[in-house]
Symmetry: C2
Subunit: 346 residues, 2 copies
Amino acid sequence: MDFQNDLYLKAHRGEAITRYPVWLMRQAGRILPEYRAVRAKLSGFRELVETPQFAAEVTIQPVDLLGVDAAILFSDILVVPDAMGLRYEMIEQKGPSFEKTIRGERDLAYLDDNIDVSDRLSYVFEAIKLTKQGLANRVPLIGFAGAPWTIFCYMVEGRGSKTFSESRKLLYTNPSLAHELLGRVATTTIHYMKEQINAGVDALQLFDSWAGILPKAQYEEFGVPYIKQIVDSFPGFPFTVFSKGASTSLSALSELNNSCLGLDWQMDIEEAREMVGYAKTLQGNLDPCMLYAHPNRVEAETNKLLNSFRNQRHIVNLGHGVYPDTNPENVKVLINTVKAYEIKHQ
Amino acid sequence: MDFQNDLYLKAHRGEAITRYPVWLMRQAGRILPEYRAVRAKLSGFRELVETPQFAAEVTIQPVDLLGVDAAILFSDILVVPDAMGLRYEMIEQKGPSFEKTIRGERDLAYLDDNIDVSDRLSYVFEAIKLTKQGLANRVPLIGFAGAPWTIFCYMVEGRGSKTFSESRKLLYTNPSLAHELLGRVATTTIHYMKEQINAGVDALQLFDSWAGILPKAQYEEFGVPYIKQIVDSFPGFPFTVFSKGASTSLSALSELNNSCLGLDWQMDIEEAREMVGYAKTLQGNLDPCMLYAHPNRVEAETNKLLNSFRNQRHIVNLGHGVYPDTNPENVKVLINTVKAYEIKHQ
């Protein structure tokens, strides 16, 4: 497939690029007035996720309005547990809420057997197809899913939490149940991501939002191996793993067979590069709060990040999703600074 | 002062010990039915903090009931901003709430000038004196305060937050105001801790609960230097710095002149020891969720931690406060395992 702009894919493959690619996690979202206008017409967040034409529309908005080098499908990581049988609601100002949770073996009965992912999540694949049409090969489209550990957190806890202590408790009280559930999530996620590729996505990203709440040894037992299972199902496909807060497991993550590692904003990117080596692309890692600064500062901080890159295997992004009250003008300053930056090394 | 049990202080000083000392953050608290009985008699959390006889009573409880090697004063880090002029309420199930916050220069007018810490926080010092009487030199008493960055977070945000993005925003939009406020908090904290020593505490701990939400470079500009100011005001005094989530700043923290570094549960303690070197005591770092496991597992995990120690400069603790629904019997298993463990190295 020939893209008008394939910088994002080239950076994944370690090919020579004329400038660094840039996109933002949560770029399709509340920072854009045009997104809020679509959202206001609908009953809620889930209607947006589940209606392909609207999901495609908001996915494409930041390509037109901000000039990013990749689109990321507007969706939610919780569509996977939903498809598995744990229906959730998204409560305004509060976040997700599951009626049923998995706390013991018998709760596994809540999960449906042999689900047909292509049917249950057909709205996602339809949205991908519509998005691809709308993008018309201007930039690549990224599909995504939550990593099994993060999905597990919601399936056990049933909602967001500061500590996810019910989820972490299960790792100690019933590790075999935990492995059973994580394995089932990983299997479903592999099917889901394969169908995303069939529908047309050009790259994939796994979000492990709650990686950082586990002890290192536990993350390497209950987190990383399931990411590895997924990654190994997509050899050679552009694939980003973003384990938020997992700085102490960076070397374990470096050994995975995917093309790109996402970094959160807490980590120094030069130290990360030293730990990861030069064979992987790094994505990140500006502080989302930096976008509250004066435009001159946004430009300076972006240039500082760019100057810290030691090779071409970098994709510029924030170290987390853009905060909803960010001024889109400052996002444009970030993006335009990246576009104006001349790469000096090979 | 001769203690019946001074293992905790010896570990700070790097002196030979017969066994490792152990205590738990939040040991004086909701895990104990005896604490809940005292609490139930009172109007709320603040009455407990502000009534010396009750604060002393619950401070001593875990020494009697759990057999810990140190007591830590029952109090709250927010008494400092409160004394500075920002009154807070503690709302049940929700956490602290400040009526006034510092978002711009003119909000500094909310802060009282030249406050007399010994008067405003007299209830703390009175509680220390009563606790010392009640302890009768059985074990040392730890005093504490919040680190300036964490106190700043509450003064700016006015309440708990997942992202503390208002506080972080200020570091970008008005760094000189941020430094001004952090400096004032540091100065007040130094006065406060000096008065704690005058009242009788045997050791001090700084809690930087929100260290982990800053980029490394920013934590080393807005966090670490104010900790250093405080630490340098107490040369030679047993002093623990606990910067939660600051694994990427561990080397900067290692260079401080205090005796002990607290570690959260995410970090591997052997890797931490390698980074910190052998000249500092390390405190931590069991996962609070581990205490939900079967007692046999609690014993095994505790022994695993103890086996990972390479010298005697260790104080056993969790990597965070004990969770309120923890079974005190499991806490006793942890403590008794530490007490039964024979130190094999010098």
